[in-house]
């Protein structure tokens, strides 16, 4: 067990979790107080001692499922054939997966496709946990087509398995039959012991379910199907671990934490995860900045005022007086390229800046591709920042000729229309990769802005190593900026914004 734990902790660290030596020791201590065969108990004990941030839970979960996949009651159900499926027994485990029932490993493979479908139906109808597990194992054995040593990810096998189960059809049948049963007044008469009950439903006065009741019925079955899906994933993972070993599998599953995902290469799932991460992030940033501001508010000691005030105490300087610091909230102009490759970066930056807009005296936003448009009003009219960012994409008028980035044109139009409003209190943030499809840079615009504004900063979501290569003209602009920053993920973005305020 201790060996597994050591490997597991190492994996967590490789995934970016800051696990200290004390915490690793606490983890070992904690599992000493719990029954080792109870996989769930081990999981929460390790979670409580090793994971100190909700944002890290997903990485923990993945690693746990890999490192501890061979434990747990589900696994025992496989019987003697499964018990060997540890480490060395890889080919055996995979072989069981290949056959169409003729591999002969255990009686479970003997069931016919019709029997499997019937088991699936019953397991879902009755929410029968152990039956769900058995169905998952059978389905993977029959449909996933897993072969040892094949470098395919788990999702491929998951897809192949699910495709063969026709879950949407099963769902429709489950809902239909339950509805018929309830409307005929025979509900609640079946179901074996220990099965989890479905919703308590009664057909109303009309002898029919209401739309809401139907919805709840369907949701219940959807949740059960989701459980089946998790069982199938777990089974696939168990087999992959047996084939490749925990460490190798964990490595192939390792994903960056939300704050480290690269804006330019984020997958859809990662974007969802980042959107979820940005709210707590802005909340924290906001709180931190507010605190900072409050501390700053106390200016230096005003000696004369203190003495003057002390007269009311008979000359004892009882209450020190402080100078008021200059009220110095900056005004921000955000000018963002929202073309495809950098769109995610622009969205998150706009989100972050607007979410903390109370830190600035004013925030104005402009978005461009080859044309440029002001979108400040969209933010003012929307109920939440999320909604506004969404609407920017639909409503902004940013295409001039062909909808390919043209920084030179966009910037010169910006200067013509709004350049006059940039003054000594303005900080200008330019966002983009400065890849301008070989159009002229018109870098004089940035030079002019630099002379009028308090600061001009450029945030570039590309790795610094690529700047200036190909059609990147960042160097033309950089010479006139007060700073050009690499900003590839939420972590870098957050630290820049904090520095800006």
């Amino acid at each position: 067990m201790l060996d597994v734990l050591t490997g597991f902790v190492a994996e967590l660290r490789r995934s970016g979790l800051p696990v200290s030596v004390t915490e690793a020791a606490d983890a070992a201590d904690a599992i000493g107080h719990l029954p080792l065969e109870d996989r769930q108990a081990i999981k929460y004990a390790l979670g409580a001692t090793l994971v100190k941030s909700s944002a890290h839970w997903r990485a923990f979960d993945t690693a746990f499922e890999v490192y501890f996949s061979l434990r747990g009651p589900q696994f025992d159900l496989v019987g003697p054939a499964g018990a060997e499926q540890d480490g060395e027994a890889a080919p055996e485990g995979a072989e069981r997966g290949r056959g169409e029932g003729d591999a002969g490993a255990g009686g479970l493979e003997m069931v016919s496709p019709e029997e499997l479908a019937a088991m699936l139906y019953r397991a879902l109808r009755d929410a029968d946990q152990s039956m769900l597990g058995a169905v998952a194992r059978l389905a993977v054995a029959r449909f996933a087509g897993m072969e040892p040593g094949r470098p395919v990810g788990g999702t491929y096998y998951l897809y192949r398995t699910l495709r063969n189960l026709d879950l949407e059809g099963v769902l429709a049948r489950l809902v239909g039959e339950a509805r018929a049963r309830i409307e005929a007044g025979t509900a609640g008469e079946d179901g074996p012991d220990g099965a989890r009950p479905g919703p308590i439903l009664r057909a109303g006065a009309l002898g029919r379910l209401t739309a809401l009741e139907e919805r709840l019925l369907e949701d219940e079955y959807r949740f059960r199907i989701e459980e089946l899906r998790r069982e199938i994933e777990a089974e696939i993972r168990r087999r992959l671990v047996a084939d490749r070993g925990a460490e190798a599998l964990a490595k192939s599953l390792r994903k960056p934490l939300p704050e480290d995902v690269d804006f330019m290469h984020a997958t859809r799932d990662e974007l969802v995860m980042m959107r979820r991460a940005i709210q707590p992030l802005t909340r924290k940033l906001q709180a931190r900045l507010a605190r900072k501001r409050r501390h700053l508010r106390r200016g230096s000691l005003d000696f004369r005022a203190t003495v003057r005030h002390s007269l009311s105490y008979g000359g004892v300087p009882a209450e020190p007086r402080f100078r008021h610091p200059r009220p110095s909230k900056p005004e921000i102009f955000v000018v963002a390229d929202i073309s495809g490759s950098v769109a995610a970066f622009a969205r998150f930056t706009l989100h972050l800046v607007h979410a903390i807009s109370s830190q600035f005296s004013k925030v104005r936003s402009f978005v461009f591709i080859d044309g440029i448009d002001e979108v400040t009003e969209i933010f003012e009219r929307s109920e939440t920042v999320t909604e506004a960012v969404h609407r920017v994409n639909q409503e902004a008028d940013v295409v001039w000729v062909d909808g390919h980035s043209d920084y030179g044109h966009a910037l010169s139009v910006f200067f013509q229309r709004w350049g006059g409003e940039v003054g000594p209190k303005t900080s200008v943030l330019l966002l983009g990769d400065a890849r301008s499809n070989y159009h002229t840079p018109e870098s004089w615009v940035v030079k002019e802005l630099g002379q009028r504004a308090r600061h001009v900063y450029w945030l570039n979501p590309e790795p610094e190593a690529y700047w200036g290569s190909g059609d990147s003209i960042i160097d033309h602009y950089a010479q006139f900026c007060d700073g050009v920053y690499e900003c590839r993920n939420l972590r870098q973005l957050e630290s820049f914004v904090e520095h800006l305020v």
């Binding site: 979670g47 001692t49 009664r202 109303g204 809401l212 919805r215 949701d219 109920e383």
Partner: protein
């Protein structure tokens, strides 16, 4: 190190995770194994629990319930910005001290000093109170993310050694390690050191079964069927892409209102007219009303 043995010797409070869970339920708090397990470990390892999670998921209530179930006194330190040592730990009652000095004019200073820096003149605040209590206590440090980093360091010191040193009086050492719960709404990243010291418990929304049990226990006069429906509707709402999902407190408010209105079973109309108790944003309410009334794909299919 401290003079107190921080792990073993003391008699454990619970014999198993199942017992914790059962006892919590007895006082009206419904836990799953993960939650009960962390409470169990907190006792075994002598460590504080840092409870984090969305608003209204039972963080504060957990500490209260643990106190109730162990028959311990609950001592609560409510955190706020600006909370400092004098409000968290102890403070000398200087008014009383001044009076005493005036009364004892004529006595030698040494004697007076001895007198006025005694326990009679000490204002005990929650942390010191928890450390010095002779009887069992549960210490709740609520909304710890609101204090400044310096105050957090002070908390850490107390929670590491379970002792407090008062220069004028000496060191007060806890006679027993109290169960300690810190709650956080995560408005600020807490220091690594504090997090390292604590067990971490992330409280999420409960399963339907657990939420139904909570509703049944906390809403007098509700029927099984209505409680079931309430829990299920709330679960379905939490699966939607809303700006803010309903919390357990909101579930309870909604259920109480339904009972007051004499509603036996929720239909689309009732749901629509009472959704504002569950959801805060107009756009959320609109989306939810639409979703709940919609016969979805599978259900609409005549699959009989």
């Amino acid at each position: 190190m401290s003079s107190l043995d921080l792990s073993s010797n003391a008699e454990p409070r619970f014999s198993s995770v199942a017992e914790v869970r059962r006892d919590l339920e007895r006082v009206g708090y419904f836990a799953d194994d993960g939650l009960a397990g962390v409470v169990y470990l907190a006792d075994r390892l002598g460590k504080p629990v840092l409870v984090e999670g969305p608003a209204g998921t039972g963080k504060t209530e957990l500490a209260k319930s643990v106190a109730a179930m162990t028959g311990a006194r609950l001592i609560r330190l409510q955190c706020y910005e600006g909370l400092d040592e004098s409000k968290a730990l102890y403070e000398w009652n200087y008014k009383k001290q001044l009076l005493r000095i005036q009364v004892e004019q004529g006595a030698g200073w040494e004697e007076v000093e001895e007198n006025i820096f005694s326990e009679d003149f000490l204002l005990t605040r929650p942390l010191l109170e928890a450390i010095s209590a002779p009887e069992p206590v549960v210490l709740l440090i609520d909304e710890v993310d609101r204090v400044e980093i310096e105050t957090e360091a002070l908390l850490l010191e107390v929670l590491s050694d379970y002792q407090v040193s008062i220069p004028e009086l000496g060191t007060v050492v806890a006679s027993q390690i109290p169960l300690v719960f810190l709650t956080s709404n995560n408005t600020r990243e807490l220091s690594e050191a504090l997090k390292r010291r604590c067990l971490f418990l992330h409280l999420d929304y409960p399963s339907v079964e657990r939420e139904r049990a909570i509703v049944l226990a906390k809403v007098p006069g509700i029927t099984d069927q209505l409680a079931d429906q309430v829990a299920r509707i709330v679960r379905s709402l939490r699966a939607l892409d809303l700006k803010k999902h309903p919390s357990i407190s909101e579930t309870l408010d909604w259920a109480r209102t339904l009972v007051l209105l004499g509603i036996e079973s929720v239909d689309e109309e009732t749901a629509r007219s009472t959704l504002h108790l569950l959801l805060k944003y107009r756009s959320d309410i609109e989306l939810a009303a639409k979703e709940l009334a919609a016969a979805t794909s599978a259900a609409a299919e005549p699959g009989r």
